[in-house]
Assembly symmetry: C2
Homo-oligomer: 133 residues x 2
DNA sequence: CAGCATCCAGCTTGATACTG
DNA sequence: CAGTATCAAGCTGGATGCTG
């Protein structure tokens, strides 16, 4: 459309992650944060219970998973389905919006995992050229 | 392929972000971290100098931008081109690998910016149902 | 301009203990 | 099981000052 496609074709949307105070920046941080992205990807295969998620995401603490799920639920990306049974059973699943986000994330993650050898090689090269510090 | 497409079709790659100690996890954190993603996206339109980047990414400090660029350079996503002039001039640009990553990121960012109204609406709903805390 | 070194406030995080 | 509450520790990141 724009022949002079310079470096920054501005969006039509009134939101920009480049602006410090834009809510899109905070939202991006929720979904790309330390646990947000992993949580979304973990839920891609279907709904999971709290402790299933916890086991799946190696290293996440109870507290952080809880916090992360609350954020994602608030942003409308995850649905929380609590059954009032005893013992309690709570299932988490993606909303349609969450699923779309997770797909983008999955694409990124898959790509990255597929190119890790390149990354590792680059690191070795980088570290070697300055091994003497 | 697999008719019982359960929740986790394992990758063919030996890397998984779900494992705490996998280098792919750390790399993912570099590119989705607070400044990594923004830096990669900012460089999508072409090379930029240090202070150009700093101005473009609202809120980043000198220190964090410097640190971020080093990480991205080490991971082989960004190229640093320093001209030995006075005053010094250093240009940063994406490597082919970095460009591919940036494209994934851009897709995510664009999608999210385009759906921010939904996110904001979801937040309002969430907050309202528990306004009395 | 393009950084590095240092300092340190405060936010994030992980452990632990507790509740329904 | 599915969390919440609390607390200490450590890392993040901003401010400042300096270098080439």
């Amino acid at each position: 459309m724009d022949s002079t496609q310079e470096r920054t074709e501005e969006q039509n949307y009134p939101y920009s992650v480049f602006a410090k105070a834009c809510p899109s920046r905070a939202t991006l941080e929720h979904i790309t944060g330390r646990w947000g992205g992993l949580t979304l990807c973990a839920l891609q295969g279907g709904s999971l219970r709290f402790n299933e998620l916890r086991r799946r995401i190696d290293g996440v603490s109870e507290k952080m998973l809880s916090q992360t799920l609350h954020q994602l639920e608030r942003d409308g990306l995850v649905l929380r389905d609590a059954q009032p049974t005893n013992p309690p059973r709570v299932d988490y699943e993606l909303t349609p919006l969450g699923r779309a986000v997770a797909e983008h994330l999955k694409g990124l993650v898959d790509f990255m995992e597929s190119r890790m050898d390149d990354v590792l090689a680059a690191r070795t090269r980088y570290d070697e050229t300055r091994d003497g510090r």
